[in-house]
Amino acid sequence: MDYTASRLDKCFAALKAENRPGLGIFVTAGDPDQETSLAILKALPGAGADMIEFGMPFSDPMADGPSIQASSLRALKAGASLAKTIDLVRKFREEDQTTPVVLMGYYNPIYIYGVERFLTDAISAGADGLIVVDLPPEEDDELCVPAVKRGLPFVRLATPTTDDARLPKVLTNTSGFIYYVSITGITGTAEVPIDMVRAAVGRLRTHTDLPIGVGFGIKTREHAAAIGSVADACIVGTAVVNALAGSLDSNDKAGPDTVKAVTDLVSELAKGVREARG
């Protein structure tokens, strides 16, 4: 089965028509448990998320800060697995045919699941792209090339350390959008320097026509508005995961306001992206 839904393309086209940046929300699949995670997933579009980065939990998330590490471990402790993550996408897709869901994570669980089996199951469940943090272009034969052959977008990360000489290599085989990592660090650690992001996004645009999403470090409505003035999408993860974590009880179980804690923040951020070009 090949991927043909092109929900990412349609989403970015619609945003362009509205003349506003999109809001991508990252949540970890199965955090704090499968049921709550599905409820959050279903509530995100209504709260203002234009696309969803759905984290595939991994025991050793090398590029993530403490918040997303903890979120991954919570999910695993509550029984998350790659098969269950794909299942959550399938259940979400039964009700929502338009919001793109990009699966984001690390390679080992996919490698163990089996690359072809993973692509088949992810596409049939209704996933719209992949971001696999520890697969640089040097390892494209592993997953990127097989995914692109099936039509499934493989979204790559570009960083402040990716110079002009390396950019073409990073952009080869990239589709869907470019995820610009706005700081040289791990998720959720620093404030985003807006002038540097503006310059970096400008530099990226001389190399590609793909939409550019910016993430790592966006926390508030104001941030989202500022970053959204230069990017095609703002991607927020750590702040959302922190809001979720703050609603849990002392045993990391979902509280009565867990879904609301997430959607409240998402609604605020959604206002931010709508003010970005005002």
Binding site: S59, D134, I186
Partner: protein, 409 residues
């Protein structure tokens, strides 16, 4: 164990230009790290071809580390086992008490050439941390060592040594608070400090070029063994034995002999409470291939690809992965990978102290435990060389109560 792949003409040509040993190795890191890794690779390739770099290495090997380390015939153990002659490669006599300094000196000199003045490292038992702190003191570099919070508690003497040497020890509380988490944290930190910092990885694992670079710096162990045994016995060894956590001491001994088919080679993993118990650190014997810390290699993991915890009484072997070249040598069948349990290692520890007056580290005690199972069946004119890669002072707190319980003290 041997795969259907035909044997290559040489086992010593890897890795390829992308850092692959067969399907193992590679560069599975975030894009943020790629430019750093490529910079290290470029600098290393230049240094490797520069006689001045090796002359400097040679100076520090001789005058600071104390190389060559002795190749010592162990007469009483040989008599005790009643078979082939046993030689120890005495890398425990190196400055800082283990083989780790061989690699650290190479990487520290490389960092210096690259103009980096700040060093980070990960450590489990603390031996690599101590070696790194030592080189940083020697060269006046800032040093930060990431160490699992559990290990900080278990290895206090080494923590104090690092502090004394001027290093900052950073306790890591993420994940299971042990070596793999320390490595995750060091990689995370490096990403944020790429301009100024050099990461000295302690074993022959991680993204390319580390597995090849660490091996090259450790190969002095095997190269010396070759000429020392030629002097002593006029021939090649019949068998080599070394313990394996990440596998840097082992690859250093093995690599110069890989293309000598008469030399049998054994790598000894830590079987902890025994392979069937599931509580062990034997990635090759009890794991399967996966991707972690920048390379594809054998890992301890569950059905979902989540990394599981390793267990060994030896903190230096307590790692859920193994260097990628070992995974390749395992599948090619050139090296035989076996294992020894905590208890077997403790018995070997006590035996070595009593019969040779050498207190080995728990890590090479695993190698000696395996030697004890095979050497007695070999002819008396055969020769076994075992890498005694570290000394045991650091292990006394862990070992003494166990030996008392076993009635060995």
């Amino acid at each position: 164990m041997a795969s259907a792949t035909p044997a290559p003409n040489s086992f010593r040509t890897g890795p390829d230009e992308n850092g692959h040993f067969g399907i193992f190795g590679g560069r599975y890191v975030a894009e943020t790290l790629m430019p750093l890794i490529l910079e290290v690779e470029k600098a290393y390739l230049t240094a490797k071809g520069d006689p001045d770099f090796w002359a400097e290495m040679e100076y520090y090997r001789k005058h600071y580390i104390g190389r060559p380390s002795a190749l010592y015939f162990a007469p009483r153990l040989t008599e005790h086992f009643g078979g082939a002659k046993l030689y120890f490669k005495r890398d425990e006599l190196n400055h800082t008490g283990a083989h780790k300094i061989n690699n650290v000196m190479g990487q520290a000199l490389l960092a210096k050439r690259m103009g980096k003045t700040k060093i980070i490292a990960e450590t489990g038992a603390g031996q690599h941390g101590v070696a790194t702190a030592t080189a940083c003191a020697l060269f006046g570099m800032e040093c930060e060592v990431f160490m699992g919070a559990e290990d900080v508690k278990r290895q206090k003497p080494n923590v104090d040594r690092m502090r004394l040497l001027g290093a900052k020890v950073v306790p890591v509380t993420s994940g299971s608070s042990t070596l793999k988490d320390a490595m995750n944290e060091a990689l995370r930190y490096w990403v944020s400090k790429a301009d100024t910092h050099f990461y000295i990885i302690g074993t022959a694992a991680g993204p390319h070029p580390y597995p090849a670079m660490v091996r090259d710096f450790q190969c002095i162990i095997g190269e010396e063994t070759r000429w020392q045994l030629e002097e002593a016995e006029g021939k090649l060894p019949d068998a080599l034995v070394a313990c394996i956590g990440g596998g840097s001491n082992a690859i250093g001994l093995f690599h110069p002999f890989l293309d000598d088919p008469s030399v049998e080679i054994f790598g000894v993993e830590a079987a902890g409470h025994g392979i069937p118990s599931g509580e062990h650190a034997a990635s090759l014997t009890g794991g399967n291939p996966g991707v972690l810390h920048g390379n594809r290699t054998y890992l301890l993991q569950d059905d979902d690809g989540q990394i599981t915890e390793a267990h060994s009484i030896s903190a230096g072997l307590d790692y859920p992965g193994i260097g990628p070249e070992h995974s390749w040598l395992h599948e090619s069948g050139r090296v035989k990978y076996v294992s020894a349990t905590d208890t077997e290692a403790l018995e070997a520890f006590a035996l070595c102290a009593k019969l040779e007056g050498i207190i080995p580290a728990l890590e090479p005690s695993h190698a000696l435990a395996y030697v004890s199972t095979m050497i007695g069946d070999m002819d008396k004119d055969k020769i076994v060389v075992m890498n005694l890669c570290g000394r045991g002072d650091k292990d006394l707190d862990a070992v003494i109560p166990r030996l008392e319980k076993m009635g060995k003290l």
